[in-house]
């Protein structure tokens, strides 16, 4: 048991920090720091810079660009990336479909997709959720019927994040409606978003932004070779993929960044001539939040340190649950620091309200999603109660 990073890990951390803060364009990092939306081009540019340095898909098999890092190295890599305001490699590519293809795809699929997926030459989106399924993912209704060499896909997906930027979609479809359990009879198909019969409808969120979509499929023909892995095994791949999704979902680095910004903002607001940063109630609130965040980071490190054998540590389910709560608490903190200035959400030129105060509430409202998506906090509690406590 030892607290300090080894000299090698210290050096690794410095290397990451230096890379992220010098090799990724300031404009991109400033946009993220200002909590403004990145353009498609900015995402692509950032990921290609990382990929060129071998930093986009370190957790993939070495053969496909992975680095064979320890869990701790991956943790440090992710933390430093978040602290440096570097956009993370697109999760749909690097944490979801990439690992699935690497693990379950055939050789042809690996060669066809993996390098382009790592480099964001293909932008992937996810076709899992459906309007009538919600947390009950397995009750999906989108069907794929075999017709000659094609699958014919009909149905609807929703909550497809950044689908408007996507080139390809990976999709769970029902291929055997007669299967006894609903989890059986599901397969995973991949196909281009510009396939005939695919239409996309943007969903506006309460912050006014457009980041999720509905996707409709009407007789979309998908070549049989686009089936990933085995027919009717899609649910297994989805579980594998959603397990990956939970990695790094604590987002400790990102929340740290928010808190450090909050401290800075509090110095800019004065109350009767005194900076808000000296208000005891505010500092107490920050201290509590920071302490929770330290506890979460340490728990993430414990999980990392104890899961080198590949089995997830039981406490890993805590990460998503508390991580989302702390992200939300940090965005709420910034709204409260902005106070009345938080009303100036969509101010533009001619306003004296600082940018951070303008985006504060839209971001806060938007962040209500983080306890809902990727396995809602109710799902996380169900997992903890069932799997860990045996209830």
């Amino acid at each position: 048991m030892r607290l300090q990073l080894s000299p090698e890990m210290e050096a690794f951390r410095d290397e990451m920090r230096t890379f992220f803060t010098t090799q990724v364009p300031a404009e991109i990092r400033d946009t993220l720091a200002a909590r403004r939306h990145l353009s498609r081009e900015q995402y692509v540019q950032a990921q290609r810079i990382l990929n060129a340095a071998g930093l986009a898909v370190p957790h993939w098999p070495v053969e496909w660009g992975g680095r064979d890092w320890t869990p701790l190295q991956r943790h440090v890599w992710r933390e430093e990336m978040q602290l440096a305001n570097v956009p993370e490699p697109l999760a749909f590519n690097t944490s979801m479909i990439g690992p699935v293809i690497a693990a379950f795809g055939n050789q042809e699929q690996k060669e066809r997709f993996l390098a382009r997926t790592a480099n964001l030459d293909i932008w992937w989106c996810q076709g899992f959720s459906e309007p009538d399924a919600g947390s009950d993912l397995a009750s999906l209704r989108t069907t794929a019927v075999r017709d000659g060499d094609d699958w014919v896909v009909n149905g609807q997906k929703t909550w497809t994040t950044l689908g408007q930027h996507a080139d390809w979609i990976f999709c769970l479809v029902r291929t055997d409606p007669t299967a006894e359990k609903k989890q059986r009879g599901i397969s995973m198909l991949v196909f281009p978003m510009d396939s005939p019969g695919v239409t996309l409808r943007p969903i506006q969120l309460i912050d006014g932004g457009h980041e999720v979509n509905e996707v409709f499929f009407e007789d979309v023909r998908v070549p049989a070779e686009n089936l990933v892995g085995e027919e009717n095994r899609g649910w297994d791949y989805a579980k594998f993929l959603l397990g990956n999704e939970r990695v790094g979902i604590a987002r400790v680095g990102a929340t740290k960044k928010l808190i450090s910004q909050a401290k800075q903002h509090a110095r800019e607001i004065t109350v009767d001539g005194t900076p808000l940063s000296q208000d005891p109630r505010l500092t107490a609130r920050i201290a509590e939040l920071e302490n929770e965040l330290v506890a979460l980071e340490l728990t993430a490190l414990r999980v990392v340190a104890n899961s080198a054998d590949g089995k997830p540590h039981p406490a890993s389910s805590v990460l998503k649950l508390r991580g989302s709560e702390l992200q939300q608490a940090a965005t709420e903190l910034i709204v409260d620091i902005a106070g009345p200035l938080s009303l100036a959400s969509f101010a533009d030129g001619g306003s004296e309200v600082p940018d951070w105060a303008r985006v504060a509430t839209p971001e806060y409202l938007n962040y209500r999603k983080v306890s809902i998506y990727g396995g809602s906090n109710e799902v996380q509690r169900t997992i903890i109660a069932g799997t860990i406590l045996g209830l």
Binding site: R281, P340, L343
Partner: protein, 393 residues
């Protein structure tokens, strides 16, 4: 002590509810309305005027209805129920309330008459960038030159500041904070409006030697030569607005809870409706608890105002309670809806947005709690039916 509405009050509620249901019963109409400037429906504003709502708290001789804080609370709650975007609290209760409290008879008639008739919109330009929830002005100063007052400085965010026909502007003068009337078309006045997250409109109001009319009489000896400090009037008017917002928040929370319960009753997951999941129904029960406690406090604060009690202290209590309840209910309403709760196409997120806005206009819960905390060691127990909340009479 009597917590019952009388029949006139019930009639008022029914009338306002009917009007607002017709206007915004379909949430999509509200969404369309706030998407375009001025962020509310001028026709609904006119209909509220016809019903007497816009003159509700003003004296009859000033063109108003001579009603009181209870009636104001009823209207505000009904506005909240459909999150109607018309600036009732901002224009009538706060800006209008200041004119009623401070203005000369001539000013009251000149300003409150047209406001009551729905012919004008008022705004109170008081907030200043870089600070928060004050009763005084610092960033705008007033100087007199040859009988004309001129204001210079910046106010922001000013709710409905770009649309307003008349602005009540606070400004620093020797001896404190004075209030002024500024016409929307005054020279040297620049207004840049924008939408707020909840669909309201706010503005940067920049004054550059803008001519203004002092609100109220001069004070001091000899017929009055000194400008009176109006910060206590600002405090009081803001307190009344906080109470009205409290009632508005109760209306919004009520709908958020009702909508959530309805969703739990009808939405199916894992083959059953969501109300079969006890963890969810218990959370809805906790929302109900928050709502009813907030309702009691908001109602009580209106009664304190009606009774002539310490409205500032009562408003702090209402602010604290509705702030905590609004956050609780706003967050849980979204969470219990799941993904659809964060979409603009569904109504519940807009309620959360509005509750969040109300929570930051005139002081949040922490702010109110600190004000209350500064006094707790000065009395043994609180009696909500006694001093300072009821005046001996």
């Amino acid at each position: 002590m009597d917590f019952q509405y009388d029949s006139e009050q019930n009639d008022l509620r029914e009338a306002v509810r009917g009007l607002l249901q017709r206007a915004y019963g379909d949430p999509e109409v509200r969404r369309r309305t706030v998407a375009a400037d001025p962020g509310f429906d001028e026709k609904t504003w006119a209909r509220l005027a016809e019903m007497g709502v816009l003159g509700l708290p003003f004296a009859e001789e000033d063109g108003g209805m001579g009603a009181g804080p209870i009636e104001v609370g009823i209207v505000a709650e009904e506005m909240g129920r459909v999150i109607a975007p018309e600036p009732f609290v901002e224009s009538v209760v706060l800006a209008g309330g200041l004119v009623a409290a401070v203005g000369t008879a001539a000013q009251r008639q000149a300003v409150l008459g047209p406001l009551s008739e729905g012919a004008t919109v008022l705004a109170f330009a008081h907030a200043e960038p870089g600070t928060r929830w004050s009763t005084t002005a610092r960033g705008v100063t007033a100087t007199e030159d040859g009988g004309t007052w001129r204001l210079t400085g910046v106010k922001e965010p000013v709710l409905h500041g770009a649309r307003a026909d008349v602005l009540v502007v606070s400004a620093a003068v020797d001896g404190g904070t004075a209030l002024y009337l500024v016409r929307g078309d005054a020279e040297g006045l620049t207004r840049t409006g924008y939408p707020t997250h909840d669909g309201t409109r706010a503005a940067n109001v920049t004054l550059a030697g803008t001519p203004a009319e002092l609100l109220g009489e001069l004070s001091g000896e000899g017929g009055g030569t000194a400008v009176a400090d109006r910060s206590a009037d600002v405090e009081r008017a803001q307190a009344l607005a906080r109470i009205a917002y409290g009632n508005e928040a109760v209306g919004a929370m009520d709908t958020a809870l009702t909508t959530t319960a309805e969703y739990l009753r009808t939405r199916k997951q894992f083959g059953v409706t969501l109300n079969r999941f006890q963890a969810l129904t218990f959370r809805a029960a906790d929302m109900y608890v928050s709502l009813e406690l907030a309702r009691s406090t908001a109602l009580w604060a209106s009664m304190v105002a009606d009774a002539g009690g310490d409205v500032v202290a009562a408003a702090d209590r209402a602010r604290l309670q509705t702030s905590r309840a609004g956050r609780h209910i706003g967050k849980e309403a979204i969470q219990l809806h799941g993904g659809i709760g964060v979409t603009a196409e569904y109504s519940v997120g807009h309620y959360t947005s509005r509750l969040t806005a109300i929570d930051h206009v005139l002081g949040d819960g922490d702010w109110a709690a600190d004000r209350l905390a500064a006094r707790v060691d000065g009395y043994p127990t609180v009696d909500p039916l006694g001093a300072p909340y009821t005046r001996a009479d």
